[in-house]
């Protein structure tokens, strides 16, 4: 019976990957309408992207964090509230917990936490759109990058993921090979999850 239920649940997840309840989610697809180019910050901070108006001009910023646990996301939300000088008020109906000021909204749903900060206007619309795009599949966390050495340079690979390397040194004109080992190599998947290699 448990197996059957599990299969049924898995099938439902595959058919309808969007998730709106607490728990461990796969994340939020990083390509979102209304957002500009994303920047990966750090595994502890998640990714960020500008909010664009109809003319493509920046009017704010979103930050999204997909943590390994709900507690990690809750801690991220606690940090996020530190950077708002105006008082934040609790808000219901947006994830497991939410806080808001007039142009700022912070929310957590399971292991996913996010903030929407606008210069003007209601951040709720963007926050709801992000929360609605939370998915539970694929469940598997991305693999950490792999490292190989060739011709005196270090190369890193993470199939299906975006790499972000910190530290180290690449010779000028060499896009991928490092002559000095980096401190950290992060593989980001398309749902905002990060795996780290520390060479």
């Amino acid at each position: 019976m448990d197996l059957l239920a599990s299969l049924l649940l898995t099938s439902l997840m595959l058919l309808c990957p969007a998730a709106h309840a607490a728990g461990i989610h796969a994340g939020i697809p990083v390509q979102q309408p209304g957002l500009g180019p994303l920047s990966h910050l750090s595994p502890e901070q998640g990714w960020t992207a500008p909010v664009l108006d109809a003319n493509g001009q920046p009017v704010g910023v979103v930050r999204v964090y997909v943590g390994p646990t709900e507690a990690a996301a809750a801690a991220w939300l606690g940090d996020a509230r530190l950077a708002v000088q105006a008082p934040l008020q609790p808000l219901s109906g947006l994830g497991d917990s939410a806080l808001a000021a007039s142009t700022v909204l912070l929310s957590r749903d399971g292991n996913v936490a996010l903030s929407v900060t606008l210069g003007e206007g209601d951040p709720t619309v963007q926050a709801r759109a992000l929360l609605a795009s939370i998915v539970d599949a694929p469940a598997a966390w991305p693999q950490a990058p792999r490292m190989r050495q060739q011709d005196g340079l270090w190369f890193f690979e993470a199939p299906g993921a975006s790499l972000e390397v910190q530290g180290g040194h690449r010779p000028l004109g060499e896009p991928w090979g490092y002559s000095v080992l980096p401190e950290q190599v992060v593989a980001w998947d398309a749902w905002g999850r990060a795996s780290v290699l520390r060479p």
């Binding site: 920047s39 910050l41 502890e44 910023v61 996020a80 950077a83 142009t103 180290g168 040194h169």
Partner: protein
């Protein structure tokens, strides 16, 4: 062989420079044709018609003098001169250009070219000209230059110029070329000969690198570009990357061959070049450093031995090497920026001389960022380095500032508050670029986003403190941030980008801060704040306002002027921003 008209024109134009006057040209020609040993003051010759009773007429002599080295791409026309003595009436000089030995019958007969080491050595070691660039006259056989008559009918004391080109206007190939002059009478009989060997060489710097001497006052600072392609958006020069690498000293073929100049300094402050050659990177040093510049030269081949070579770089001292070694190190004579941090940019002129004669001048465009010192972030690894875009913007923004930490911080406050185009978030006081990780002590600034203004121009105090900290620490001025806690109401403030004073920056119901971030370099004893200006008069909570910029205000005074009511104190005041 008839010399082309174009060459004759060139040569006769050269003759307009005038003759060598009062110069015994036979004495120093060094050519095999000057060994007659005859007196040179024959005094008129056999004109008395005395048959066999008078002394025999002295043999005529001919000398040819001129420089030993020429760069056909950089030197321009050099002066040569003929000097004949006891020249019979009607005798004239024919001038022939003979290629290096092995280059088509070049039997120059001179010491250099005859030694066998110039033909192969020069032409083989120097950057290779096009095969036909050395082909002269009518040989019609690329790569196989032959002697060519440059001019005939010249007077025995003519002066002329040669610029290292063949009659068709093509720069001749590298090697020991021989200019041979023959004095002939009206029957075509050779009376005397002279020769000048001219080493043709293409000179030029092919690589330059700032820093690296290891001296205390030559500590290059790594520069980082934040929009690179590949494995990371960051790329830094490691403080070791050459400024430029050219690969060759010339490009083009034949008459179109031209020297490769050092390119303008890389203009993109965000993205680095994607190729190491053909670019010219800026570099960074402390303002009081004396940077070194190491230059690698193209090999001079046998031309190295043909003259005494020197090099000069305006405002820099030669401290190591010489042009013949292919490696030179210059050290800036004065401090990089004696008046304080700024962008030092302009063209350096490198002069290359052979036997004191200017062979070539090469321009080296430079842009050097003169900061207060190495970055002072908690971490010294990428990306906590000096960002090129930040250095360029900030150093231009605070130009003229004295080389003192407090003065730099004061100037940064003014620059950020007045010039950065930022406006305080009067809705929520929320950050758009800064964030905290693991509590208020883990401040981060999305510097990439900020430099691009990717999220717009609205900011809060965490942003401004982060921006101040990022720029200051990049420029080598240690600066921490402090968090003022908590939930206090405000006196009159004038927030960044806001035109008026208010004690309620978020509207009538928003008259306080839950926290406020400022910067300090001494655990909150003194405060710098680019977020807001205070009311500096006796009553900071009411009109009139005496706008006070927050530049090195004591921590106590700052709180007195900022806080109307509530408990407020400094926390986390040894925290240093991290950039990302």
């Amino acid at each position: 062989m008839t010399p082309p008209l174009s060459l004759l024109s060139l040569l006769f134009l050269g003759c307009t420079h005038g003759k060598v006057q009062g110069h015994d040209t036979s004495a120093d020609s060094g050519s095999p044709g000057d060994d007659s040993g005859n007196p040179t003051d024959g005094g008129g010759g056999p004109t008395d018609g005395g048959g066999d009773t008078g002394p025999p007429p002295p043999d005529p002599t001919l000398a040819l003098t001129g420089p030993a080295v020429i760069d056909p791409l950089r030197t321009g026309a050099l002066d040569f001169s003929l000097a004949g003595t006891d020249v019979p009436a009607g005798a004239t000089v024919t001038l022939t250009l003979v290629p290096p030995s092995g280059g088509g019958g070049g039997d120059s007969g001179s010491g250099d070219s005859g030694s066998g080491d110039s033909g192969s050595g020069d032409s083989g070691s120097a950057p290779s000209p096009s095969p036909d660039s050395g082909t002269s006259g009518d040989s019609g056989s690329p790569g196989d230059p032959v002697p060519v008559v440059l001019a005939s009918g010249l007077s025995a004391d003519a002066a002329f110029t040669w610029d290292g080109h063949d009659p068709d206007g093509r720069p001749v190939m590298d090697g020991a070329w021989s200019l041979q002059a023959a004095l002939v009478d009206d029957t075509g009989t050779s009376l005397a000969q002279a020769e000048q060997v001219v080493h043709v060489v293409r000179t030029g710097v092919v690589m330059g690198r700032f820093g690296g001497s290891g001296a205390e006052d030559d500590q290059r600072i790594a520069l980082l570009w934040y929009r690179a392609s590949g494995a990371s958006g960051y790329w830094d020069d490691g403080a070791t990357e050459p400024a430029f690498r050219l690969g060759h000293v010339s490009e083009g073929v034949g008459a179109l061959e031209a020297p490769i100049e050092i390119p303008a300094v890389w203009a993109d402050l965000a993205s680095p070049p994607t190729t190491p050659t053909g670019v010219n990177l800026p570099a960074a040093f402390a303002w009081d450093d004396h940077p070194t510049l190491s230059l690698s030269f193209a090999a001079l081949g046998d031309a190295a031995k043909a003259a005494t070579w020197t090099a000069e770089l305006d405002g820099w001292d030669l401290v190591e090497g010489d042009p013949t070694s292919g490696h030179l190190v210059f050290r800036k004579t004065a401090a990089l920026a004696p008046d304080g941090p700024r962008v030092v940019e302009g063209d350096l002129s490198l002069h290359l001389l052979a036997d004191g004669l200017l062979i070539g001048t090469q321009t080296i465009p430079t842009r050097l960022y003169a900061t207060m010192g190495a970055p002072t972030f908690a971490s010294s690894s990428s990306p906590n380095l000096l960002w090129t875009a930040a250095a360029d913007g900030a150093l231009r923004g605070i130009e003229g500032v004295a080389p003192e930490d407090s003065a730099v911080l004061d100037a940064l406050v003014t620059w950020v508050y007045d010039e950065a185009g930022l406006r305080y978030d009067t809705r929520s006081g929320a950050s758009f670029y800064a964030s905290y990780s693991g509590g208020w002590g883990g401040g981060r600034l999305n510097m990439r986003g900020f430099l691009d203004r990717a999220n717009g121009t609205i900011v809060n105090c965490s942003d401004c403190a982060g921006i101040m900290g990022a720029f200051a620490n990049m420029l080598g001025v240690p600066l921490d941030y402090a968090i003022i806690l908590s939930n206090f109401s405000l006196n009159e403030i004038k927030a960044i980008g806001v035109d008026s004073f208010t004690s309620c920056p978020f509207g009538p119901s928003g008259c306080g801060f839950s926290y406020h971030a400022v910067t300090t370099d001494d655990l909150s004893s003194h405060i710098w704040d680019a977020t807001l200006n205070l009311d500096g008069d006796e009553d900071p909570g009411a009109e009139p306002w005496d706008e006070l910029r927050v530049q090195q205000i004591t921590g106590d005074e700052y709180l007195e002027r900022l806080v109307r009511s509530g408990t407020a104190g400094y926390y986390y005041d040894d925290s240093r921003i991290q950039v990302q």
